[in-house]
Assembly symmetry: C2
Homo-oligomer: 300 residues x 2
């Protein structure tokens, strides 16, 4: 797909995701209003909706419809948003700015920010448990919940943030192996699960799920390296979040360990590996491949 066509495709997917989130999240006038406003403030702060889009495109690649994956798509975005709200707290990364807007705790105070994260984490499982699945398919709502809970829990998403928190402000650089472990936990795991949930809704075969897993793992590692490169090379204005933060906090990153050029090379290699993983899909995997290229070349 030409870049302009892909951009317009992603934009229309974004609109589908936003409209699903709009319908799945409790209305802002439901009591207590503060929490429902705070949940929506962060969810509708202009995210790229990468995870939900991957979920929908994976369902398509596995022979389902993109629309059948809207519930898991909305669910993974709620998990992503909750993790950002909690990561930004003063007791974690202490960030005031996210997507060009004041972070949740700056806007609502720390107590409500903690609770808004808790509520989004919880509603993610409510939304996911309500997914309509093929009646004679291989996967149940219970399987979807297990997939998301394992990825979001102490061994992966939360675990990665623990390691990040423990590593920050220390003078010692992490080893490449440790760094990769954090990237796998914090970034690749949820991208992979987004893809797998889409596959499960489309009753994917074991081979297809494995292909999505390999694609997601490589894409996730590439995505995080690019993110760390942009933290060095782009402005706060462009990123919509505080730039230069990694260096200021002595955070271990690919650019810090290997420099920018070698980091860019590694991201390109991982993106190529992501492409190869899509082989079993043939032509139906082309949109996922285009997205991988697009993410490699992004500048924000």
């Amino acid at each position: 797909m030409a870049t302009a066509d892909l951009k317009s495709h992603l934009k229309s997917r974004c609109e589908q995701v936003d409209s699903a989130l709009e319908s799945y999240l409790p209305a802002p006038d439901i009591r207590p209003q503060t929490i429902h406003e705070a949940m929506r403030y962060s969810v509708f702060a202009g995210g790229k909706r990468l995870r939900p889009i991957l979920c929908m495109e994976a369902a398509l690649a596995c022979g389902g419809t993109a629309e059948s994956a809207l519930a898991p798509a909305a669910s993974v975005e709620c998990i992503h948003t909750y993790s950002l709200i909690h990561d930004d707290l003063p007791c974690m990364d202490d960030d005031d700015l996210r997507r060009g807007m004041p972070t949740s705790h700056v806007k609502y105070g720390e107590g409500i920010a903690v609770l808004a994260g808790d509520a989004l984490l919880t509603v993610a499982f409510e939304i996911l448990a309500g997914t309509a699945l093929p009646t004679d398919g291989s996967y149940s709502a219970g399987d979807l919940v297990t997939e998301l809970a394992v990825t979001s829990g102490s061994r992966h998403l939360v675990g990665g943030q623990v390691l990040d928190l423990e590593g920050e402000g220390q003078d010692v650089q992490l080893s490449l192996e440790e760094l990769k472990y954090i990237h796998l936990s914090k970034t690749a795991a949820l991208l992979t699960t987004s893809l797998r949930l889409g596959g499960m809704v489309a009753d994917a075969s074991a081979e297809q799920l494995q292909a999505l897993t390999d694609f997601g793992t490589n894409l996730g590692l590439a995505f995080q390296i690019i993110d760390d490169i942009l933290d060095v090379t782009q402005s706060t204005e462009k990123l919509g979040k505080s730039a230069g933060k990694d260096e200021a906090t002595d955070k271990s990153t690919y650019p810090a360990l290997f420099g920018l050029d070698q980091s860019r090379e590694e991201a390109a290699k991982l993106t190529a590996a992501a492409h190869s993983a899509l082989a079993p899909f043939g032509e139906t995997g082309s949109c996922l491949a285009d997205i991988a290229d697009y993410l490699l070349d992004r500048d924000y």
Copy 2:
């Protein structure tokens, strides 16, 4: 059941619950160790296991076995523990002591305490999604997850904490209606869901689930009133948490609104209503009735 027999029954249930939690929670040596230690620190801090026991006894009352409800039982205890960790944070109720031990953020720092709560909330859904259910029963793992997510989310458990947070330190007393709403959200909802999940595992009829709901609602309101009475009448040492806190923070409570005598009367009335709700169970509901009486007469 005589009080001594009930106490010994509850103790043996506690041991079953502890052993289930031991097997369901990630081992403390799994990486990252800090988070798995912190999760276990709060879960094994000597809770009364009221919610899991209600879950097990409800399964029994509905004709199932208590043991078949161990997964949802462990799951509701994880939710309860997460909510205590987050409620105790400096940005919420700012409590240093819980069950006679330093709270999670005092022991591990605020960042890890937030993450330990997040991880327990998440693992609750992992455990629940793995519940073994009767193959030809009316309820799926998805139904169980929906039940727990709705109760734990922004409309109930989290919502109640929001109202609590917004009400604290204000000179204005809440109305009785507002206070009841907070108690229903913060306390009665999770007690009721614990009972209902036990019922669902035992393939309860609609009439049985309704009876458990009515029992849980009345029991939950009585439980919270007793809790607020004990905050006034008992020592910090006896309670294992900071006593006299409600008055110090101008918190609206039953004793503050109506005095101790009228509060005790109300708790007794609600306990009687809880008893009546158990009528459909006949003799099989007697253990739940005994627990209600025991909670009314507790002094810690």
